[in-house]
Chain length 272, copies 2
């Protein structure tokens, strides 16, 4: 099975660290300074694909992480989400063509199953760029907004910021991925409702293991005033998001991509 | 005496909080959400002037804080530093005209004595916008770059980031304010050298008083993992910057504005 996750957000927002934290293996190598400076000069948005094999419990998953260097990084960021949109639609196009072949074996499915959009934790509201990009992305694939570097926000700041982000998302009709809720008291539905109320997920990323004041060793960020822990539910929503992506909802993300987003693309193409 | 400080940086970077922390009195009222959203739609960079009387030790200072809402906030931020530059030069122009009057009493001096440029703590390097804006500003007034929300950076991150920022500043010939160093072992020179090595200043802003785990009450940000203190030298450079701005170097900032920056403007104008 192919599972493709796209990460979108400006340089330095923590995408690389998050992906490497999530998959416990260094999937994305950090760029060196001279490469970064060269990227600032070329003013383009690239699409980079990183591949890995995941052995999660009983199934083998071919993981693809799609990175978007250059997104939101320039003085003029007009249309910087177009390469992202084009990539998503190209995967649908390629799948459509393969699907239409008389012989269908060995179809390569590179469709994007989830797009993690990294929001800067500036504490006020979404930027105009975020609104326009998320609107375009959410209309074409499973959009999961995340609040990057949430250790920048105090619990009070975070609560307010999450509310404001959701207000703008709703006011602007931005479509985000929502897990299905079937029945009122199904344990799965309760779990799903917890997930929905936590959105947008506040994340902290770190591949470093550090000692806490009380002697444990955890993945986290060590500050003079304390240790922000990646895997503590009191510190951030990392565990909820990880669980959604690679345990409980991987199948739903793949299914909705096929049955909702790809289907919409396909029927639009067939009409024209 | 008039003392004018300009704060430049994108919305949500912490300018308001910093100014209110610095001057212990709410000089800038935070915008409400609807005003912020309207600002996002108008796509202009404004110049707002906030006035206050400061009673610092033996002298009375008329403080002016100049804010720049809209800077760096749009999808396309081309030339967004132009209103900032225009404002700085307009003050020189107005001073020049008053200076040229036969009767000079009651000259109003609104020249900008220091411009605090807020850098996003993204951990990699300066953004192209930062480079272009700082280059233009530093050529015309005392530019003091600060690393905003430095509680986002671990001590290791911060050390690397400061170095990278200074590397780019030097490579790009961005002129920043440097306190004078007269002699090798003068206690003032030692203090000045400490200040220079701390640049760019890493700041944490907070007007809230919070309890620390060991029972003190401090200005800071209270996280589940600890309290980031504004006035601890182990946590950030706030005290160094405050000392520079309103104690040890206020006079030098005023003098260099007059003798270096304004003088350069004046002689350029007189040639043309
Ligand atoms: N405060 C904070 N910093 C982070 C976090 N994740 C990553 N960083 C730091 O942010 C910087 C940029 O991270 P990186 O993952 O390379 O960002 P990318 O350019 O989006 O891939 C690095 O210095 C990281 O240490 C986080 O959750 N919180
Ligand atoms: N992590 C962190 N957050 C801060 C700091 N200073 C301000 N903030 C938060 O950042 C948000 C925006 O601050 P504000 O001062 O209004 O930013 P402005 O738009 O630049 O004036 C608020 O939620 C503040 O609580 C800081 O030093 N560190």
């Amino acid at each position: 099975t192919n599972f493709s996750v796209m990460v979108v957000g400006e340089s330095g927002i923590g995408k690389t660290t998050f992906i490497n934290t999530l998959f416990t293996t260094e999937l994305i190598e950090p760029l060196d300074d001279s490469t970064r400076r060269r990227k600032q000069l070329d003013r383009t948005v690239d699409i980079n694909i990183h591949k890995a094999e995941l052995e999660e419990k009983v199934f083998n998953v071919k993981l693809n992480v799609i990175d978007t260097p250059g997104f939101g990084d320039y003085v003029d960021n007009n249309d910087c989400w177009h390469p992202v949109i084009d990539f998503i639609e190209n995967q649908y196009e390629q799948y459509l063509r393969q699907e239409q072949q008389p012989i269908r074996k060995d179809i390569v499915d590179m469709r994007v199953h989830a797009c993690l959009y990294f929001i800067r934790p500036n504490g006020h509201t979404l930027k105009p760029l975020d609104v326009r990009a998320m609107k375009a992305i959410g209309a074409r694939c499973n959009l999961i907004p995340v609040i990057a570097k949430s250790d920048t926000l105090t619990p009070m700041d975070l609560k307010q910021f999450k509310k404001r982000v959701m207000d703008v998302i709703n006011a602007q009709n931005i479509r985000i991925y929502t897990p299905p809720i079937e029945s009122e008291d199904d344990p799965t539905s309760i779990k799903n409702r917890e997930i929905i109320t936590a959105m947008p997920f506040a994340i902290i990323g770190s591949t470093q293991e550090v000692p806490t004041p009380d002697g444990r060793r955890v993945k986290g960020r060590i500050y003079p005033w304390g240790v922000a822990e990646v895997e503590s539910d009191q510190h951030c929503d990392f565990k909820k998001l990880r669980s959604l992506l690679i345990r409980t909802h991987m199948l739903d993300l793949v299914t909705t991509t096929e049955e909702v987003h790809y289907d919409k693309y396909r029927s639009t193409q067939m009409k024209t």
